[in-house]
């Protein structure tokens, strides 16, 4: 199986898979414990508006998606802080409008026949080398920010009100988290497409949470699980000649159900393993 790594696109796919999985493990853990999965899904879909805009303006789609996703993330963040009771509705609207905007903008782009499917379901086999550098840069930035604000993120994720009282800048850190989520989501779109983003961001942390007793360890375990799922899915897709993004998600899905079944079985015997 190692001979496939002699192909440059395969090597890039493996590296992209590792970099994005590590990023997902860190950010995905915060997304899961802060219960902002819905916002993340909204960002992923609305980011398509940025892709459309990028094609119309003739700039890099990744750049367009990243910029647009950050703006959408900030709007959703401010809305969810202001109008708590209607936040889910407004996020749902932005989710759909962003996507519709992307489709129409691409229609309006002269002479372009964009492969919509590659954005919906990913194109991990077509990651150019320079994008690996973006991914490495983002991963480094996310890693440093989370290490720096670890105590603060832990406190606001566990008990937001208490964090406010002890003077943690909860709003700022929350918006920063959403920006990091937006950039991470754009990278994941490369791997598995915007429809499947949520699975890769939430399944590894969900499984990791059950076997860890600290947020940092949860992030590490989730990152490792993400790498395993991504590489296994990639390898299976090569072996069976199937769509890679969907295979990655199916591998994660199988692990998810296996873990849930393990819980149901283990609950009878009680006692849970922790690291």
């Amino acid at each position: 199986m190692w001979e496939i790594l002699h192909l440059e696109f395969m090597r890039n796919a493996v590296l992209a898979g590792i970099l994005v999985s590590l990023c997902c493990g860190i950010i995905g853990s915060l997304v899961v414990v802060n219960r902002i999965v819905f916002i993340s899904g909204g960002i992923a879909h609305a980011a398509y508006g940025g892709i459309g805009l990028a094609f119309l303006l003739g700039i890099s789609p990744t750049l367009g998606a990243a910029g647009f996703a950050v703006v959408v993330a900030l709007v959703m963040g401010l809305v969810s802080m202001r109008a708590k009771y209607r936040a889910d509705t407004i996020i749902g609207v932005l989710w759909a409008v962003g996507m519709a905007l992307g489709v129409v903008l691409i229609d309006l782009t002269p002479g372009y026949n964009v492969d919509l499917m590659s954005y919906l379901f990913g194109s991990i086999l077509a990651v150019p080398s320079h994008e690996l550098w973006y991914m490495l840069g983002l991963l480094s930035a996310v890693f440093l920010l989370i290490v720096f604000f670890y105590k603060e993120y832990l406190a606001l994720s566990y008990d937001e009100e208490f964090a406010v009282i002890v003077g943690v800048p909860v709003r700022t850190l929350y918006l920063l988290l959403l920006c990091m989520t937006a950039l991470c989501v754009v990278m994941v779109i490369r791997l598995v497409g915007l429809i499947l983003v949520i699975a890769l961001m939430t399944i590894p942390p969900y499984i990791a949470e059950k076997y860890t007793r600290s947020l940092g360890r949860m992030m590490c375990v989730a990152s490792l699980l993400g790498v395993v799922f991504t590489l296994t899915g990639l390898w299976l897709s090569y072996l069976l000649d199937l769509t890679s993004g969907a295979m990655i998600i199916l591998v994660a899905g199988v692990a998810f159900f296996a873990s849930a079944a393990g819980d149901a079985f283990g609950a009878k015997r009680s006692g849970r393993g922790e690291v």
């Binding site: 414990v33 105590k151 603060e152 832990l154 009100e161 208490f162 009282i165 943690v168 007793r213 947020l215």
Partner: protein, 268 residues
């Protein structure tokens, strides 16, 4: 059934003590539903206030206004002479445990350390002093041996002890507690109020509780909240309060009321 306490705790603090909490004409509503109407309250430092009232009567809202987590629509709030925002680093807060995620991957020690965040800086680990302080507090509440346990593996009473240690780690001059006796065993409940009486020697205590039986032995003052607020320095639960808060007497009936509370006011 609870027996009458042997000694009755001293009444309210002398009038020369500065005010810990001062609310004047506070109104608050969620969307359009009024929750608090024209609430006023003056509490002196060193007092031990029990807040009772029916569910949905506005007890937690009142507490969150005092903590500065909610802004009243009208009226003024002073905590230790400052605005709630300015006084934040001088208060401690023990929220209802039911509002927190039990499966969260965090240890008892990490939770207690959060109380030191107001002194810690981002990007740096907690200092030796922070850790020593938290160790002392976790020992005081009897949780030091269990410090590395995940919060989800602790019992309700153990979680409550950790949250009290966390609140005390802020070195509070006023300690606010929201239903600290919910989901804990009877034995811990007695320990809890003994601990609070002990803490009351250094700090003002404001505690929401549904259990009048336990509260009446420890508190110096009582307020009943049900959209309006009735306040009594001296710990008496008046007939007026009972009439207003008639949803709470489930506990009144269940545990019996220490005599001293009612006898002065029975004539109503």
């Amino acid at each position: 059934m609870k027996t009458m306490p042997d000694t009755i705790r001293a009444g309210p603090q002398p009038l020369d003590k500065p005010l810990a909490v001062e609310l004047k004409g506070v109104w608050f509503s969620y969307e359009r539903t009024p929750v608090l109407t024209d609430v006023s309250l003056s509490l002196r430092q060193g007092d031990f206030l029990g807040i009772i009232g029916p569910n949905g009567g506005g007890k937690t809202t009142l507490l969150k206004i005092m903590l500065g987590l909610l802004k009243p629509d009208r009226g003024s709030v002073r905590i230790l002479g400052d605005t709630p925002l300015e006084a934040r680093h001088r208060v401690g807060y023990v929220p209802q445990t039911t509002s927190l995620n039990i499966s969260f991957p965090v240890s008892a020690l990490e939770i207690a350390l959060m109380g030191r965040l107001s002194l810690a800086r981002p990007g740096r680990p907690y200092s030796r002093r922070d850790r020593d302080k938290v160790e002392e507090l976790l020992r005081r509440v009897g949780m030091w041996e269990l410090r590395d346990r995940a919060v989800g593996t602790l019992s309700g009473g153990q979680r409550q002890r950790v949250l009290i240690a966390r609140a005390l780690a802020t070195d509070p001059e006023i300690l606010f507690l929201d239903e600290p006796a919910t989901g804990v065993d009877r034995e811990f409940e007695t320990d809890l109020f003994r601990l609070l009486e002990d803490l009351n020697q250094e700090a003002t205590i404001v505690v929401i509780t549904h259990d009048i039986g336990v509260i009446s032995r420890s508190v110096r003052s009582v307020a009943c909240v049900n959209r309006r607020l009735i306040f009594h320095e001296g710990g008496q639960i008046t007939k007026e309060m009972i009439d207003m808060a008639y949803a709470c007497p489930v506990d009144l009936v269940a545990h019996g009321l220490p005599h001293r509370v009612l006898e002065h006011h029975d004539e109503g």
